[in-house]
């Protein structure tokens, strides 16, 4: 249900909290393709205060990467289109910013780290060249100083022998080193917001831990805000303060890491937690969330999770729940169980959630 016009107008006029670096509201990004329209992001709201960290969690295809690309305005139009919504970043609405301006924001104020370090660097240039290019674009310095900055930022991300590394080509570096180069590039212009899209998915486990540690350390040292996109609950648990869980283009639950992971208020989050293999479950079949992500061309009429939800009833099939506040503005769940209508069924869910958390926690501890 879209909000009435007056309400939208009111929200546009209201004073923005200067403490909020990024405020995404009612964002809808659709892709018009041959078979119809894919509503990849279908009404996403979240806010990120300056210097804080937020994890955007969800399975493949839930729209988390598209959300990030929309913030950067990197969606190809056509087929993509930002249908609705606002992205307030540091006092400006990025959705209406002219191309010229958005280019200064990209890399300069919002930097992004991509999933694939193996292919995110241009094979024909030295890594020094590539970092220096970003510096030259945004800081307006000469070749020599840009290269010095490149060396400095490589040093800052723990690359040994940065003076020699800047002269090397990407194919001469390992995956972990390349991801460090990507991070150095992202940080070289001291951005206010760092978006990391699955920064560790393509790396092996030991390197994953190092890179996460590095991102965390740099985030704390430089005070940049971090939007971490991942499908890995363990990664968010270790890295960020707050979580937004996405499913089929909408946020289904948000709150602090502790709240969401230790006291889930949405059956999808509960399902994710109970599918973590744990100690108690040894020898038993792994539990999974039954069913598959809905077909993007034929979304369920009511709650998008309803076809897979073990707690769903008629209301869920016919009506879509809102993202309701649970006591605080930044603790929300998109589930009828958390509304008066679901009061009777709530204890059953709470018990299942408690069990899932208990199993998951013991799983993490092993």
């Amino acid at each position: 249900m879209s909000a009435p016009i007056e309400e939208l107008a009111a929200s546009a006029e209201k004073e923005r909290d200067p403490n909020l670096l990024l405020e995404v509201s009612g964002l809808r990004t659709y892709f018009h393709v041959m078979d119809g329209t894919v509503k990849a992001v279908d009404g996403v709201d979240f806010a990120l205060p300056r210097g804080e960290t937020l994890g955007l969690v969800g399975e493949s295809g839930c729209g988390k990467s598209v959300t990030a690309l929309t913030i950067m305005r990197l969606i190809d139009t056509p087929p993509g289109e930002i249908v609705e919504g606002e992205i307030w970043f540091d006092g400006r609405d990025l959705t209406t910013l002219p191309d010229e301006e958005i280019r200064k924001v990209r890399g300069g104020e919002i930097a992004m780290i991509f999933q694939e370090p193996m292919t995110s660097l241009n094979p024909v240039f030295t890594v020094g060249n590539q970092i220096a290019e970003a510096v030259k674009l945004h800081q307006g310095v000469g070749d020599k100083e840009a290269m010095e900055r490149a060396i400095e930022s490589l040093k800052a991300v723990g690359v040994p022998d940065p003076e020699k590394r800047v002269k090397q080509y990407p194919h001469e570096l390992s995956g972990g080193l390349r991801q460090r180069v990507m991070i150095a590039m992202a940080l070289s212009c001291e951005p206010k917001l760092l978006i990391a899209d699955e920064p560790t998915t393509a790396l092996d486990v030991t390197i994953q831990a190092q890179i996460l540690e590095l991102i965390k350390e740099i985030q704390q040292r430089t005070g940049t805000a971090l939007l971490l996109i991942t499908h890995d609950l363990a990664v968010v648990a270790e890295t960020v303060q707050r979580i937004a869980v996405m499913y089929a283009g909408v946020i289904v639950e948000q709150g602090t890491v502790e709240e969401v992971l230790l006291d889930p208020k949405h059956p999808y989050t509960q399902g994710l937690l109970s599918s973590i293999p744990g100690k108690q479950k040894r020898g038993r079949e792994l539990s999974v969330i039954k069913g598959v992500v809905p077909n993007p061309f034929r979304m369920p009429p009511g709650c998008k999770f309803e076809p897979r939800c073990p707690f769903a009833w008629e209301l869920c099939h016919t009506h879509e729940p809102d993202l309701v506040e649970l006591g605080r503005a930044d603790r929300r769940s998109r589930c009828f169980l958390q509304t008066p209508a679901g009061a009777l069924r709530r204890p059953e869910f709470a018990a299942a959630a408690k069990q899932a958390v208990r199993d998951a926690v013991t799983g993490w501890e092993t």
Binding site: F114, T119, L121, N122, P123, E133, H138, A186
Partner: protein, 320 residues
Amino acid sequence: MATEVEAVDVKRLTPAELEALELERPDYEIKLESLNQWQLAWRRFKKHRLAVVGTVLFLAMLAVGAFGPIFFPYDYSVVPTPDQIVYAGRPPSLAHPFGETGSLQRDVLALVVNGARLSLVIGVGAALVGAVLGAIVGGIAGYFGGRVDNILMRVVDIMLSLPLLFVILVASKFLGGGSWYTILVIFALFSWQGISRLVRSLFLSLRGQDFVDAARAAGVGDYRIVFRHILPNAVSPIIVATTLVVAIVIVEEAFVSFLGFGVDATQPTWGNVLSNSLTFIPVGNWWWPLFPGLAIVITILAINFMGDGLRDALDPRAKD
């Protein structure tokens, strides 16, 4: 071969000893020389024997075209006196190693050498202009896609569906053929289509690459993305295609000149030298068509070998 290596139990060493051991060990990774893709390509190219031979031949031919006319000058207006003329020409001799033509007693060597200059200028020039045109058109189509792509590629389709040789014949007739630069321009205008298709497909796949997204995310503008990030990655296939276009243009120029629609006889090209020899073949002076014909065959073969080697050497997926 086997060298004595003292076995050391690393676990028992003190940290200081370990460090000393580390220092003794050469730092392999940093000592590795850093080769860029051109150096790597050169390494692979050198291994391709035929390609090296082809390149040497082609460079030799270019040298002949560049410096030969200094040693074997040719002037159309110099006409022998009637008493010097032997109707059928003279076969190869020490004074004229490629023989002399019939009728005007031209030195065939001088014709071939001077012909090399124009044939190669037209071949290489038209291919280079065509490559630039093709890269621009294909690059725009591939990078921007959508309607721009559609319009440009339909133009290419139309041009490719024209019977090329007839169009060139007509064009050279109407644009006042005869001078070498008109011929060059005509060939340039008809040799970019293939390259533009190639460049378009390269750009289409390259613009979807992660590093292009990463560059855009770093705030790089369209112009720099096209020329600094995408084009350098597409250069190798463009080079290979261009060498092959050189060969095609040389053959086509010879063909067009042979039919009398190319460069006129005042300026020799391999094609028009061959063309003039036609009437004298029945008289049995084989040396007149043989040497310019050989020059064409050798050049085309050399270019094709070179192109083959370049394709292998510049293939980014090639492993040494």
